[in-house]
């Protein structure tokens, strides 16, 4: 992967269900512009939406205010990460239906809490056709 060709798009949103559609729309628009096919776009859109839903479901009643979505785009893949600088300890719910859906929709998925309880969800979707312009 050539790092020089990577474009990075960052979006900071309030932890509020009303803004999940904004994340979905952004992910859909960016992956469409970059030449992903319709099935890949739908997968990316649904994976981003479910990751946002996970954050909203578990943090909306807590004191954290915002979360950040980072789309790192290269010629062959889109690397998506969601992070919450959390002050609240959250127990992992691996059986969450949304997380199970993400695992089926992307090529790689990781959910991590670092030593400061910061949540990071990472997802990678590879480009099937490499038809970037």
């Amino acid at each position: 992967m050539n790092d020089e060709k990577n474009d990075i798009i960052e979006l900071t949103l309030p932890i509020n269900a009303a803004y999940v559609s904004a994340a979905r729309l952004t992910a859909s628009s960016v992956s469409n512009r970059l030449g992903f096919d319709i099935d890949e776009i739908e997968d990316i859109k649904a994976a981003v939406s479910e990751a946002c839903t996970y954050v909203v479901k578990y943090y909306s009643s807590k004191k954290e205010k915002n979360f950040c979505i980072k789309l790192n785009i290269s010629e062959k893949q889109i690397d998506i990460s969601l992070s919450v600088d959390a002050a609240t300890k959250l127990s992992q719910d691996e059986d969450d239906m949304g997380l199970c859906m993400i695992k089926a929709l992307v090529d790689n998925f990781e959910l991590d809490f670092n030593e400061n309880d910061h949540l990071k969800i990472s997802m990678l979707k590879k480009h099937n056709t490499s038809s970037f312009n």
Binding site: D39, K45, T53
Partner: protein
């Protein structure tokens, strides 16, 4: 985009005909569930849901449908999903809910 539900009592087929337009996600899935459960409270019949104009449904929307299905099973009725778009059909498949719901006529686009 939010969602719009139109419902009509189909006396000929003895069921509720429901059209859903828009997107169902965590923002509106509770309202979606409440709207459907109110129909069942009014008349406990089969729910025939036309998904032709349903552009997106997430895990919370699927959860709402499961709750509604459980309610219909209490009086031996069913939820029938019609004209499900390929993007939604894929989500039903990966969650194995395609085996739980009666799905008629998936749309090919």
């Amino acid at each position: 985009m939010d969602f719009v539900i139109n419902s009509n009592l189909n006396e000929q087929n003895n069921c509720w005909d429901v059209d859903v337009t828009g997107e169902i996600d965590i923002f509106n899935s509770a309202e979606f569930k409440t709207t459907l459960l109110k129909l069942l409270d009014e008349k406990p019949l089969d729910l025939s849901i036309d998904c032709k104009k349903l552009t997106y449904i997430d895990s919370t929307g699927l959860g709402a449908l499961v709750a509604v299905l459980k309610k219909t099973k209490e009086f031996e009725k069913n939820v029938i999903l019609k004209n499900v778009k390929p993007n939604s059909a894929k989500l039903f498949k990966i969650t194995s809910l395609d085996k739980v719901f009666k799905i008629e006529g998936e749309l090919n686009e």
